[in-house]
């Protein structure tokens, strides 16, 4: 909301400085976004009078001016077509900052002729958009007078009005708040009621509850010329373009008093007006040069031919006023905010009027607004006013809040004198009768109960006066995270410790790519981009996109993880928390002391184990299955399961998937499903550790077995041979080359034997070896390699 200082002073009697006003506005909740002071930017510009105009000898379109500064005549080169002798314009001398360019003017040589200054156009001073010629100052001021003394620019405040404060979309509302804050007194500006001398030839009825009050006035014999300077200047100061006196008057009350008005050219209307619901498919050729197709829920103002305006939002072109308008119908009405908001959203229509009606204007002063605007039309355009025609009525509803003034202290901690609180409410327009507080008509959309009154008093009294009360835990803190919350923290740290960088990527993705990841089709109705239109069914795709991006930026070797949600439905809580890690390219850079290799699925499997171990999952009891989902390489992937529950997927990403992401090299990934982890053990205690004083010994075995048989089966079988003695079984070589029989592989194991009570004798070791070989043969058909 923009308003100028002089406009404010129409409603507020104040001596406060611009700085005081600005600071106070922000303090009471009308945050000042900008104070625009054109005067300071225009310091240094002076009035210059053109004494002679000659053609530039070297350029057809340039003139050579002699400009009188009050002290001397300067030679200035100027291209403006409107230069003439005797004209006064705005002169910039070398060294002056030109607002449009943000640069200081320098003496220049233009086409071989020295130019000692510049005559300015409106746009160069940021006073408007006109660049057709230099400013023609129709002024009596002498050459040399500072330009700001001629222009007398206004200070403009731009405040951010919160949606609850519809009343502050009028300068009078802002003035009232400032008066309550002690910055002056509110002026009475209402015109005396205009009785009118004849009955309006046009009547109006309202047929919808969305328009409880609709008033019109017929004014005949007006002249709709240009507005007077004071009015044009006010509108220009807040960025509005003056159009004609009638239109400017409606804009004046819109901004000045938060009363959107409308004027119809009475001679373009057919018959009487009706405020009614639109019929489906009715059209309106509107003033914003768009044609709107209306629907049944929308309110229109119609004459006998059809809709002539979208009520409260936009007038129609066919009945608009112009310079030939003689008879005019003025409309001052009230529309239901919800109806206005809905209609405007459906039509995608914006207007200053809509912006105010949808926040709620003051229905109680609508009739007075009609009087005020009528009086100004009579003053500026002449003519004769009819009696006012009123359809509907002002609701007599009053809201009275039974208010316990102690609530202010209870909710804010501020001790404020009772008289002060009463004073604040009174100036804001509340009726105060003991504890009975009557809400003013212009705050009916905002003030409903005690808490609202507490805010009114507190904000005007000032939040700077809030006490500072410290909060501490009532007892020492030993940890606030629940087990599930702790798991996320631990997994993040563990994966970072495994050399991966944590990323945070969008929760949504491209639905076309989601198809590759068991997409559940969880679409966003209004996505921000067509490639961010579905909730991700897995964390893998966004990390693959990250790999592709990094690769294109010259980093093909990625180690990235994310911990976050994946979605399986579009309802609340249809999401799982997953940790996902991807690695691509080589395991590291080339180095003199280490040879990198291509990443493989065992890197991903290691990441899965690292994540699971960090959250105390039973990693020793996990089974490995070959049932990873379709985005993994079918032969190079697996799952880690506890019973039937999948705790993690791991493996190489399927080459067809990589192709869809335009990734050339190999990528491996793991997904760890944190929600699937078994509950954390309640006991902290470990089993007692018995350390044997006897030396462990190792024996190597090489078995020949079927290629298809999983090594884990063999290892697990051997572990089971003697759980007391066999401390570890380590796979240290696998060979599938020519020296193996077809379809077979050679598997080399180092078995660690840990005697418990006594040193083993040779026969005992022999016996254990025989059992190991026996089990290997029995369980997986492995034979000892000869």
């Amino acid at each position: 909301m923009k308003f100028s200082l002089s406009w404010l002073k129409d409603y507020l009697d104040t001596n406060a400085s611009v700085e005081e006003i600005s600071n106070t506005l922000t303090k009471i909740g009308l945050e000042v976004e900008e104070v625009i002071d054109n005067a300071s930017a225009l310091q240094g510009f002076i009035v210059g009078e053109i004494k002679s105009v000659e053609k530039h000898p070297n350029a057809d379109k340039l003139n050579l001016l002699s400009v009188w500064t009050g002290k001397e005549a300067l030679q200035i080169v100027c291209g403006a077509p409107n230069c003439r002798v005797g004209m006064k314009s705005v002169l910039a001398l070398p060294g002056v900052m030109i607002p449009k360019y943000g640069e200081k003017l320098e003496k220049g040589v233009i086409r071989g002729i020295e130019s000692c200054g510049m005559m300015c156009a409106e746009d160069e001073l940021c006073l408007g958009s006109d660049h057709t010629g230099i400013i023609d100052l129709k002024t009596d001021a002498q050459a040399g007078t500072p330009f700001v003394d001629v222009l007398k620019p206004d200070i403009v405040f731009d405040v951010n009005v919160t949606p609850n404060r519809g009343d502050c979309f009028g300068v009078n509302g802002i003035a009232r708040d400032l008066a309550a804050a002690g910055l002056g007194t509110l002026k009475k500006t209402d015109a005396a009621p205009v009785e009118g001398s004849f009955d309006s030839p046009i009547s109006v009825t309202t047929q919808t509850s969305d328009c409880p009050l609709f008033t019109i006035r017929y004014i005949k014999g007006v002249r709709n010329g240009e507005s007077p300077d004071w009015l044009k200047k006010k509108l220009v100061s807040v960025g509005l373009r003056p159009i004609s006196a009638l239109v400017d008057i409606t804009n004046y009350f819109n901004i000045g008093e938060d009363h959107p008005l409308h004027v119809f050219d009475a001679d373009k209307l057919t018959g009487n007006l009706t405020v009614r619901s639109a019929k489906d498919g009715e059209m309106l050729d509107a003033l914003d040069e768009k044609v709107y197709t209306l629907r049944e829920n929308m309110v229109v103002v119609a004459d006998e031919k059809g809709p002539q305006s979208i009520a409260g939002i936009m007038g129609g072109t066919p009945t608009g006023v112009d310079e030939n308008t003689v008879n005019v119908v003025l409309e001052a009405a009230y529309f239901n905010p919800m109806s206005i908001a809905t209609t405007a959203r459906q039509l995608n229509a914006e207007s200053d009027s809509k912006m105010r009606f949808e926040r709620g204007v003051d229905i109680a002063t609508t009739i007075q607004a009609n009087h005020n605007a009528t009086q100004m039309i009579l003053d500026l355009c002449g003519g004769q006013a009819s009696k006012m025609v009123v359809a509907g009525s002002v609701s007599q509803e009053k809201r009275i809040i039974d208010f316990d003034f102690n609530r202010v202290q209870k909710l804010t901690g501020m001790e404020i004198a009772h008289e002060k609180m009463v004073e604040i409410l009174t100036i804001l327009g509340f009726g105060v009768n003991g504890s009975q507080i009557t809400v003013p008509s212009w705050r009916m959309n905002d003030i409903f109960g005690s808490a609202d009154l507490v805010e009114e008093i507190a904000r005007i009294y000032g939040y700077d006066n809030l006490p500072t009360l410290f909060m501490r835990a009532s007892e020492p803190i030993t940890g606030i995270l629940l087990p599930d919350q702790r798991k996320e923290v631990a997994v993040r740290r563990a994966l970072a410790d495994a050399g991966l960088c944590q990323a945070i990527t969008w929760s949504f993705m491209d639905s076309r790519l989601a198809k590759l990841f068991n997409s559940k089709g969880i679409k966003i109705t209004n996505p921000i981009a067509s490639d961010l239109d579905e909730m991700r069914p897995s964390l893998v795709p966004n990390l693959l996109s990250a790999v592709a991006r990094n690769t294109s930026r010259g980093t093909p070797d990625c180690q990235i993880f994310e911990v976050g949600p994946e979605f399986f439905g579009s309802k609340p809580e249809q999401q799982h928390t997953v940790a996902c890690a991807v690695r691509s390219g080589q395991t590291g850079p080339r180095a003199w002391n280490e040879t990198p290799r291509e990443v493989d699925l065992f890197d991903a499997k290691a990441d899965a184990y690292a994540a699971l171990a960090s959250v105390d999952a039973p990693v020793q009891s996990l089974q490995v299955y070959r049932n990873a989902p379709s985005w993994y390489h079918p032969g190079r992937s697996g799952t880690l399961c506890l019973g039937k529950t999948v705790l993690a997927n791991f493996g190489e990403i399927h080459p067809a998937v990589l192709k869809a992401f335009d990734i050339k090299g190999k990528v491996v990934a793991c997904e760890v499903f944190l929600d699937n982890l078994p509950p954390t053990k309640t006991k902290n205690k470990n089993k007692a550790l018995h350390i044997s004083s006897l030396m462990p010994l190792t024996r190597d075995f090489a078995f020949i077995m079927d290629k298809q048989t999983e090594v884990a089966k063999l290892v697990n079988a051997i572990r089971g041979v003697d759980k007391e003695l066999i401390a570890d079984v380590r796979l240290f070589d696998v060979y599938e080359g020519d020296k193996c029989p077809a379809g077979k592989k050679s598997v080399a194991l180092e078995i660690v034997i840990q005697p418990k009570d006594k040193t083993l004798i040779d026969e005992e070791i022999e016996s254990l070896s025989r059992r190991i070989i026996g089990i290997a043969g029995k369980v997986v058909g492995a034979e000892l390699r000869s």
Partner: protein, 359 residues
């Protein structure tokens, strides 16, 4: 006797000149071995008369000890010289790099989230969470946003069909908490939030943290004290000033925006008082309608709520310029702005590594 002295000095001379351990061993054998020259001399003692034997024996023992001592000494010296020579030959160019190791990193948002939790834990707050997809009730209705109210337009909402939305703020967690727990309540709720907005300073997904305190007496003074302590601890400076400005949120009444004092000199942002303000968060006393919607009597219970952008806190504290880069997963960015895995903020070790350093 002259004989022994001459012999001794001759052998000592040889020892002195020995260049390696082998030569030294030869000298030892030739002097003290079974057939060594001194050993031979010892053998002549038996043929001497007692007086003479005593004198000669003593002299021989002295000579033996002297020589053995010299050999030991020389041996140590030669061994050292030999090792020095070997070590010199083993010299490596220590300027060469170590084996490459992939250094993982923690994202600044996660780091800052842990920092924030560490601070609020000490003020007695628990951690609460809620889903990313929310229903209209939790995201708007219960928070006192009437349907079609212009306040909803402040929030560019992503819709998930007719009934659900991607939460536009973490405030729904307030509702979920109050629906499930009786006061007193003190929670903070961090998480992902979504708005249909994408430009220099907005991303369609970002992070917020919500705070909620409900009991029978907590007022705006406590809100001020709580936020002041939080800012001091988070920004790790005592020079913090806060400014509360009246504002509007449907779910708080009275409502406020909280600004913190800061300076921006030579492009460097710093939290300090008296040089300007930056808007940090929105807050207020929980609206009576919100309490009622959660089954709490507003005449009995009251409290405050606040919500702020975690990404922004990370940007301000750690000087990270571009919000959009937070979600780009650029390896170079993560390695530069990320935190080491064991740089864990705790009550005992503090928040950031340079926290204890005098500025």
């Amino acid at each position: 006797m002259d004989n022994i002295e001459n012999l001794t000095s001759e052998i000592l001379g040889q020892i002195e000149k020995a260049l390696d351990l082998n030569t030294l061993e030869e000298i030892r054998v030739s002097a003290l071995g079974k057939k060594g020259r001194l050993t031979e001399q010892m053998k002549t003692l038996g043929s001497m008369d007692p007086e003479e034997r005593k004198t000669a024996g003593q002299a021989l023992n002295v000579a033996k000890d002297k020589i053995a001592g010299a050999i030991d000494e020389k041996k140590i010296a030669l061994e050292k010289a030999e090792m020095d020579k070997r070590l010199a030959s083993e010299t490596v160019d220590v300027s060469m790099p170590v084996r490459p190791k992939q250094q993982g990193r923690i994202h600044p948002v996660s780091q800052v989230m842990e920092e924030v939790l560490t601070i609020f834990a000490q003020m007695g707050f628990d951690l609460a969470e809620g889903p990313d997809i929310e229903d209209d009730w939790h995201c708007f209705e219960a928070l006192n946003f009437p349907k079609n109210h212009p306040a909803r337009q402040m929030q560019a909402t992503f819709f998930m069909g007719e009934d659900n939305v991607l939460r536009t703020h973490t405030s729904p967690v307030q509702i979920r908490t109050m629906e499930n727990k009786k006061p007193p309540i003190r929670i903070v709720a961090p998480g992902r939030t979504y708005r249909c907005d994408y430009d220099m300073t907005h991303t369609p997904m970002f992070h917020q943290i919500e705070g909620l305190v409900i009991d029978k007496s907590t007022n705006m003074g406590h809100l001020k004290g709580c936020l002041l302590e939080f800012m001091k601890k988070f920004f790790e400076t005592d020079d913090v000033s806060l400014r509360f400005r009246p504002s509007f949120f449907p779910f708080t009444e009275p409502s406020a925006e909280c600004d913190v004092g800061c300076s921006r000199e030579n492009g460097e942002f710093k939290i300090e008082s008296g040089k300007g303000w930056i808007e940090l968060l929105g807050c207020g006393m929980v609206h009576p309608n919100v309490l009622k919607n959660c089954g709490l009597d507003p005449d009995e219970y009251q409290g405050f709520a606040f919500g702020c952008g975690l990404d922004r806190f990370a940007m301000l504290k750690y000087g990270i310029p571009d919000l959009r880069s937070f979600f780009d997963a650029d390896m170079r960015w993560m390695k530069h702005y990320g935190f080491l895995p064991l740089d864990i903020p705790t009550v005992t070790s503090g928040l950031s590594f340079n926290a204890g350093v005098k500025k």
